[in-house]
């Protein structure tokens, strides 16, 4: 059997990155579709130009002359060719500029977005605020945004420390989160699904572990989720979770984290009121399971070195109870 050429392998491997829940070439939202169209237009035009230039270059090499032609007719022809090339270049670049201008205008934030969510970047996680709407009071969550399908969502992007960038390739373009100002971004999903995003501006040691999940779901499911999230934390029933809650309140945990409905009201760490309902912990680092929660609490600096959560000394029994409590916070 013939060996598969390495070029083919690398092409297949590279193309496999074109689909999935984090790809600008697999768009599922209006802004991302606009951007994909722009990408395709620019790539096609540039490919054609590149092929033409290479063709002309090849022709010039094949039909080379030994001495430069200096007669007036050749000079005139040369002038015409060069002028035509310059004019074509100007037209193409102007065309691409206009195309990208209209794309940018098409993905602008509309005045009447159905939902406004504030996303605040922190080293290295996303703090998310939902404003109160109707009967649902406002609430805070982290690293996971839920949005209703087919509706315009206005994201207000802010930062507390350094510049981050919000990028969910399947739904929208990149937008920076700049300390001291508020940027807007239109987010819209046409299909239900979980879309992964990533901080796209180098922001320090754990920049690569700063992921965000956007969960797009039907409006009814979204309403149910928002109503559940806006409520206080469930009161633990299992004995280990009850013990865990007591430890959580007595140890430094409660000085940085909020669990609504309890005395824990710290504001520097992520809100843990419903941490058990989130898909991942530590900004997409690991899936939320009791085991991963315990591993994270036991030694956050080994799982995500440099993050701002200290290692709080706990006995193994305390650790088991606290992770049971965290898991119970659905």
């Amino acid at each position: 059997m013939r060996a598969v050429p390495p070029l083919l392998i690398s092409t297949v491997v590279a193309a496999s990155g074109c689909s999935g829940n984090q790809s600008a070439l697999d768009p599922n939202g209006a802004p991302a579709i606009h951007i994909e169209h722009l990408i395709i237009v620019i790539v096609i035009i540039c490919t054609v130009i590149w092929l033409l230039v290479m063709g002309v270059l090849g022709l010039a090499i094949l039909r080379r002359r030994d001495r430069p032609a200096e007669d007036p007719i050749s000079e005139k022809r040369l002038t015409t060719v060069v002028s035509a090339a310059v004019a074509t270049t100007v037209i193409i670049i102007a065309g691409l500029t206009i195309a990208s201008f209209y794309t940018t205008r098409g993905i602008g934030v509309p005045e009447d977005a159905a939902l406004t969510i504030t996303v605040r970047g922190q080293q290295w996680w996303w703090q998310i605020f939902y404003a109160s709407s109707g009967a649902t009071p406002g609430f805070q969550t982290a690293n996971e945004i839920h949005i209703p399908v087919g509706q315009d969502v206005h994201l207000k992007l802010e930062s507390t420390d350094v510049i981050h960038s919000f990028w969910v390739p399947s739904l929208a373009g990149k937008q920076d989160l700049v300390p001291g100002r508020s940027n807007g971004l239109l987010l819209r999903a046409e299909k239900p699904g979980v879309y992964r995003g990533q901080c796209a501006e180098f922001c320090g040691l754990q920049h690569s572990h700063m992921a965000i999940m956007v969960v797009a779901e039907p409006a009814a499911d979204y309403e149910r989720w928002a109503a559940a999230q806006s409520g206080n934390a469930v009161i633990p029933a299992a004995p280990d979770a009850v013990a865990g809650q007591a430890i959580f309140m007595a140890k430094p945990c409660a000085a940085c984290h909020t669990v609504r409905g309890t005395s824990a009201s710290g504001t520097t760490g992520p809100d843990l009121t419903h941490i058990g309902s989130r898909q991942t912990i530590a900004a997409g680092l690991v899936e939320t399971t009791r085991g991963s929660l315990a591993a994270w609490i036991a030694d956050p600096q080994t799982l995500k070195p440099g993050n701002n959560m200290p290692m709080v000394p706990l006995t193994s029994a305390e650790l088991q109870n606290i992770s049971a409590y965290m898991e119970s916070l659905k």
Binding site: P179, G180, A250, K251, P252, A254, A255, C256, T268, D299, Q301, T302, P305, G306, N308, P310, M311, V312, P313
Partner: protein
């Protein structure tokens, strides 16, 4: 012949030497102070074991603190972490930007319990009379040492070589790595503090 070779290679040799010197400096810096993101749990637990004089002023840090190289006083990373903790844990509510308010100032050249790390750590960990709360259950001991290092830097009598990160907004007082506070804010050890301290 060999003279000419030396002559031609001279710039390259000088450049190479400078480059080597810079690399060696970088390596030495890294060897001297690799970033320590967390202490080993036994070392962290030992930081709790300092001894305090029974009037609550001054004392002896644990032996392991010297073995670590007194990191919390002279290590830019730990000072920066301390600066972050200073605002995270609400210190400005009473001490302002270091000039005091409800709580005492760190900049007036007057330490109620002395400028030693152990005193400051004890003040933060166990609290002090007249309103200073204990942070024993709110911070880990490592964080308390980081914060104490920063507080000491705010009001140090002598300039430190290491400095915490800069402010994002305008400085409301001289930066932490300037000359000693006593020059800038010398109000003297006056009776203004008679109502504070261990035995008012």
């Amino acid at each position: 012949m060999s003279d000419r070779v030396v002559e031609t290679l001279k710039p390259a040799l000088v450049a190479g030497g400078v480059l080597l010197f810079i690399c060696a400096g970088g390596l030495l810096g890294w060897l001297r102070q690799p970033r320590e993101l967390r202490l080993d749990p036994p070392a962290a637990a030992d930081l709790d074991q300092f001894r305090l004089m029974h009037n609550g002023i001054s004392g002896t840090p644990p032996q392991s603190y010297f073995a670590l190289g007194k990191p919390y006083e002279a290590d830019a990373y730990n000072l920066s972490q301390g600066k972050r903790l200073y605002s995270w844990f609400g210190c400005p509510a009473c001490h302002g930007d270091g000039r005091g308010g409800v709580g005492p100032s760190f900049l007036d050249g007057w330490w109620l319990y002395g400028p030693e790390m152990v005193s400051i750590v004890a003040s933060i960990r166990d609290g002090r009379p007249h309103g200073m709360p204990a942070f024993r259950d709110k911070m880990t001991i490592e964080q308390i040492w980081q914060l104490a290092g920063y507080v000491q830097t705010i009001g140090s009598y002598t300039p430190k070589v290491a400095a915490p990160s800069r402010n994002d907004d305008k400085n409301s007082r001289p930066a932490e790595n300037r000359g000693p506070a006593i020059i800038m804010f010398d109000e003297g050890p006056t009776g203004a503090h008679f109502d504070q301290g261990p035995s008012p």
